[in-house]
């Protein structure tokens, strides 16, 4: 217990509380208009998605292109439950159903496919995402191609903040834990990891399922933010968008994923008025950054999680120089 109450944790806690109340105030005072609020929600949902994918790609080194498929399981579960029970309890029940379904599906998928490597794994997961989409397209409960509309909007800043903080907490702890270390070892050299006695299949499946569950949670939040879910929303393009965020932020860097999500959120916002130009300029921004930072914005480094020591050394350096 004493370990939990150290200075660093307290500072993070205070920072979190401040961030929470600043945005809470900005939203209540309507300084953040509904539009900016929706952008904020987008960023939060994509932070959860990109952190989940980063666990699979960045930490464990398994290229997955089926992330949007798992997102759709969560989104449709929430949408179906919210149709009959449009309350926050309904959202949590839907989310729970989504998590259970995602765990089952991702386990069934992971067992055979994670034996594949590199491109083959990417193609297999791409196929899985498509299979999930086609299944949803042909089910009655999901209302086929027209999707489910009129989903109760329950998204709010406290809800979003809670889930984003929980995700950061879980992914960071996953990364720092023995499981995370094992996953990093698998990424660096699978044969060496196996020689060290790591059950590679077990850890790969664990990381894959964890990432998939996070995608499912983000999907549930997505459904309750944007009123409508339709199969096309969760196509391969969405998977690639999440992949771009992860690669852009730096594979293996959790804080990189967060920063790049926020950055791409701002880029999207700035480019919104330019229809066709948006596609070109979006690609240009990505290409330019990738030329100058091929390892992504953050590489594999982390920031903010140990923000205080960094600042201290920064100031000390300044004092010395002046």
């Amino acid at each position: 217990m004493k370990n939990l109450l150290n200075k660093k944790n307290l500072v993070s806690l205070v920072l979190l509380v401040i961030i929470f109340f600043v945005f809470d105030y900005l939203i209540k005072a309507r300084i953040l208009t509904p539009y900016y609020r929706t952008v904020l929600y987008w960023m939060g949902i994509y932070i959860i998605l990109s952190l989940g994918l980063n666990i699979i790609i960045g930490i464990t080194g398994q290229l997955s292109l089926g992330h949007a498929g798992f997102m759709s399981i969560g989104a449709y579960s929430a949408a179906v439950v919210l149709a009959s029970n449009p309350t926050i309890t309904g959202l949590f029940i839907g989310m729970g159903v989504g998590i259970v379904l995602t765990m089952i599906v991702s386990f069934i998928v992971a067992m055979p496919t994670l034996r594949l490597k590199g491109d083959y794994l990417a193609i297999a997961t791409l196929g899985v995402g498509e299979i999930i989409r086609i299944v949803i397209l042909n089910m009655t409960i999901t209302n086929g191609a027209s999707g489910i509309s009129n989903i109760k909007m329950l998204m709010s800043w406290p809800l979003l903040f809670g889930f984003v903080v929980l995700t950061i907490f879980l992914t960071n702890n996953f990364k720092q834990s023995a499981i995370g270390r094992a996953c990093i070892a698998i990424k660096e050299d699978e044969i060496a990891a196996e020689a060290m006695g790591i059950n590679t299949t077990k850890y790969k499946v664990m990381a894959f399922m964890f990432g998939a569950v996070l995608a499912s949670v983000a999907g549930s939040l997505f459904a309750t933010t944007y009123y409508v879910v339709k199969p096309e929303t969760f196509g391969v393009n969405t998977s690639i968008n999440i992949l771009i965020i992860v690669v852009f932020g730096g594979m293996g860097s959790l804080s990189g994923s967060i920063i790049s999500t926020i950055f791409i959120g701002f880029v999207n916002m700035a480019l919104q008025p330019y229809a066709e130009m948006r596609l070109i300029s979006y690609a240009l921004v990505l290409i330019i950054v990738m030329i100058f930072r091929p390892q992504g914005l953050m590489g594999a480094k982390e920031v903010a999680l140990n923000v205080l020591p960094d600042f201290k050394s920064f100031f000390r350096k300044k004092e010395k120089s002046s």
Binding site: Y35, Y227, P273
Partner: protein, 384 residues
């Protein structure tokens, strides 16, 4: 790290610059929230061109109440999340009303935003019945300019009774789509109400069927009748036309269908243009209708857009003029504009005469096109 910080700072600076400028409204802003890129941009782009044409025309004529109309155009790329963001941004920028989206799914995402912010949105071509609904009740801030699918059953039944003087009809359709089932039942009801007789029950088949000879032989065995109503898309309708023309007793019978017939593949599927005779289908808009308004719209649109107008551009054009009329009557308060929109009666557009029913769907005439040797030879306006 320094590079990164300066990059972020620059982005923030640019963004604050973008959001800081607000101006006094000298113009009337109308927002477009359409699919201009992505898989369904073929729907959104013609609607944007039509909206731009309508705005250019009204501004040339002096604007509305002396104020020029300004379009604020955002692309939602058929993405529901972007559709929500776009409509909120448009409302934040002070648009009086929104036109969009071209397809149903994004429009259903805009609907709740429109309701919450009390700014109306009108979809030119979103045909899903749920678009104008908020659960079980009507969403008062969503309108549409096109008729919904089942409505065509009504118009086609009237067409069969009045224009083809049909007394006996046979109905067939796919049992796997709501489109077909709704159309079949509404056609049957209206045709019977018009004093006609529908022989036998609906002849259903599955979407995957390609051989309809069993149904067609039973239909031919029913004896003489005037109209065969096929409630389906061109993929099956074409094959049905082909096989019906080869069935004894059905070689020349009139075949009537919904807008699903309108496809460049129909003639090929029907086994050649020579089989497509005495075939009629309903549609939103046709360039061969004899109407002065339509002719001048076709000329203006072709000149400005560089292509012939489609049903989509015509519907968007009508939607824009309905908005202009509502703004002219009510000023620039979005809620009053909505009320004026709701009160629209007998609006003369290029796709027909439009009023709104209780569910904000237009009550309007439809166009029924006749196909002779696979060519559109005649188009008549049919009232509901």
């Amino acid at each position: 790290m320094k590079k990164l910080i300066s990059l972020l700072a620059l982005t923030l600076l640019v963004l604050s610059g973008l959001t800081a400028c607000t101006s006094t409204p000298k113009t009337i802003k109308i927002g477009l929230n359409l699919e201009l890129t992505g898989e369904v941009s073929v729907y959104g782009v013609p609607e944007k061109k039509a909206a731009e044409l309508a705005v250019a025309e009204i501004n040339k004529a002096g604007g509305i109440d002396g104020k020029q109309v300004e379009l604020v155009i955002y692309d939602n790329a058929y993405d529901t999340a972007k559709a929500v963001e776009n409509s909120q941004k448009l409302i934040q920028e002070g648009v009086v009303a929104i036109l969009g989206s071209a397809t149903s799914a994004p429009t259903m995402a805009i609907g709740p935003v429109a309701l919450e912010s009390e700014v109306l949105t009108i979809t030119p071509s979103g045909t899903n019945a749920k678009v104008t609904m908020n659960g079980d009740v009507v969403n008062p801030f969503v309108f549409r300019a096109c008729f919904i699918d089942p409505f065509q059953g009504l118009v086609l039944a009237n067409f069969a009774s009045d224009n083809l003087s049909a007394k006996k009809a046979v109905v067939m359709g796919s049992n796997s789509s709501d489109y077909a089932k709704d159309l079949a039942s509404i056609f049957t009801t209206q045709f019977t109400a018009n004093g006609g007789e529908v022989l036998s029950d609906v002849f259903y088949y599955a979407d995957s069927d390609t051989d309809f000879s069993a149904q067609l032989t039973s239909i031919a065995a029913l004896g003489e009748f005037d109209v065969l109503f096929v409630a389906d898309y061109a993929a099956r309708a074409g094959l049905i036309i082909n096989q019906a023309r080869a069935t004894a007793g059905l070689e020349t019978v009139a075949i009537v269908g919904p807008d699903g017939f309108e496809s460049p593949d129909l003639n090929d599927l029907a086994g050649g243009a020579s089989n497509v005779n005495n075939v009629y289908f309903s549609t939103h808009f046709s360039t061969i209708v004899d109407n002065a308004k339509v002719t001048s719209f076709i000329a203006a649109y072709t000149a400005s857009a560089g292509e012939a107008p489609s049903a989509l551009s015509a519907l968007a054009y009508d939607a824009m003029y309905m908005l202009f009329a509502a703004i002219d009557a009510a000023g620039t308060d979005p809620v009053k504009v909505r009320d004026a929109m709701k009160a629209t009666t007998g609006f003369e557009g290029v796709t027909g005469t439009i009023s709104f029913d209780a569910l904000n769907n237009p009550v309007k005439s439809a166009i029924v096109v006749q196909l002779t040797n696979g060519e559109q030879t005649n188009a008549v306006i049919v009232n509901p």
